[in-house]
């Protein structure tokens, strides 16, 4: 069976890869491109650890076939900070101790970034519902929600 050739932009880099029809974007990110910041917690779209932004939409990369994304723009956790500075969300997560084990953190940061791009002034409830697809087992979410709200406030000012 021949492989499928795909061109994508990942974190603004042009990337080419060959994939099998059944490979997911998550498989390619991790196993081919070694962008292991995107995590696999379930493989069935139930935990959000593999969240990426695909053509401006927040998606679970475990539920997107690698063959589907020809010509797309993908954004992962590895592209969140620039060379000199962390993203405000990253800073606030550190400041608020919004992570314990940190395995869910990349997915939650990506999801929170997608939220703040859509809604710069979300309420606590909006943040909670937006992030409902990102499971965290360590924190009880409290500090995560605070960090997102605080980052939103800082980004607005």
């Amino acid at each position: 069976m021949s492989k499928i050739h795909i061109n994508v932009s990942i974190n603004d880099d042009n990337i080419e890869y060959l994939c099998n029809p059944e490979d997911t974007v998550l498989d390619i990110l991790r196993d081919n491109l070694r962008l292991t910041g995107t995590k696999e917690g379930c493989g069935t779209g139930d935990c959000g650890a593999c969240s990426i932004i695909l053509d401006d939409k927040l998606v679970c990369s475990c539920l997107v076939l690698a063959a589907e994304v020809e010509g797309s723009k993908i954004f992962t956790i590895e592209g969140m900070a620039n060379e000199n500075e962390l993203h405000p969300l990253q800073k606030k997560f550190l400041e608020h101790a919004a992570l314990q084990c940190g395995i869910c953190t990349p997915g939650i940061l990506i999801a929170a970034k997608a939220l703040l791009e859509k809604n710069s002034n979300p309420t606590e409830t909006e943040v909670r519902y937006w992030l409902a697809g990102n499971l965290c087992r360590c924190t009880g979410y409290d500090k995560i929600i605070r960090a997102v709200l605080d980052a939103a406030a800082e980004m607005r000012s």
């Binding site: 779209g45 695909l54 927040l58 539920l63 063959a67 999801a111 519902y129 409902a132």
Partner: protein, 288 residues
């Protein structure tokens, strides 16, 4: 497994028709990728319809809306006019999965997955929606309730796929609603659900009603007796409690890991009542 991404309806149907093994249509993939991963399905062909012209469009047509098969929940709910036009369908669509799933999931996918618990199906049925089906012998249309025939089973024939769903024009002073019950506030599957479409007159008397229940039988249950009770009323407490009882007794649910017969039957009535009140309120706001 092969992956193909045809560029036209015709190409799609001919590939589907020619395929000897199991073929699956890919739009959002939020169901089929899970099923492939868990080994529930082993398709020989994945046909990605997203390159077919018009498949991602939302088109206003004959006072209604035609929703392309690859329109995601996010895109639907990002359209304020559409959301206002069909709030019940919008809330049903919005309840599928997480924000991440919303970026990908489609109504047609939800429909063709044929889960008794599908969120949009009761809402589409209550709103009398119509599916446009492309097949080897051309285009045909059919009502939503004719598509799922049992859990995981649909009535589409070989070579066919659904291209869009049409939400028809609504009479004046009408509105829909959808309410489901899940143990968690998000990231869950409906244990039971209810969708109601109500049309009222100027005196706020219900002229027409459609009540559909999800996850209480192999396919969506439309409760004629409940609808008849609503018609001619102002949805007072008596009518609502009778209607709830009708809904509860129309259910043929099962006991499973998500809920019990007792729970589903009882809560079907509760949700139908709440959904009816919500639709009635929305319709009333239009009459003011």
């Amino acid at each position: 497994m092969r992956y193909v991404k045809p560029n036209s309806e015709k190409e799609a149907t001919s590939i589907l028709f020619a395929e000897r093994g199991i073929s699956k249509i890919l739009a959002g993939g939020t169901d089929i990728l899970v099923q492939i991963k868990s080994g529930v399905i082993k398709p020989d062909l994945i046909l990605d319809i997203k390159n077919i012209p018009g498949i991602k469009s939302i088109i206003k047509k004959n006072e209604g809306y035609e929703i392309g098969a690859a329109v995601s929940g996010l895109e639907f709910n990002n359209d304020p006019e559409l959301k206002k036009f069909a709030p019940g369908i919008a809330e049903a669509f919005d309840l599928i999965g997480s924000t991440q799933i919303q970026g990908r999931c489609t109504m047609v996918g939800n429909l063709c997955n044929a889960s008794p618990a599908a969120d949009t199906v009761p809402a589409l049925i209550s709103s009398n929606c119509i599916a446009k089906i492309i097949g080897p012998s051309g285009v045909r249309e059919c009502h939503i309730n004719e598509i799922p025939v049992g859990p995981g089973k649909i009535s589409l024939k070989k070579g066919e796929f659904i291209k869009s769903i049409f939400i028809p024009a609504r009479p004046d002073f009408s509105a829909d609603s959808y309410i489901r019950f899940t143990p968690r506030s998000e990231m869950d599957i409906a244990i039971v659900s209810a969708a109601v479409f109500i049309t009222i007159d100027k005196d706020k008397i219900c002229k027409d009603a459609k009540v559909s229940l999800g996850a209480v039988a192999p396919t969506v249950v439309t409760v004629k007796n409940a609808e008849e009770l609503l018609v001619g009323s102002k949805l007072d407490v008596n009518v609502l409690s009778k209607m709830a009882a009708e809904c509860s007794s129309s259910c043929q649910p099962i006991d499973d890991k998500r809920g019990t017969i007792e729970f589903r039957s009882h809560v079907a009535g509760v949700l139908a009542k709440r959904a009816a009140l919500l639709a009635y309120k929305r319709a009333g706001e239009k009459s003011e």
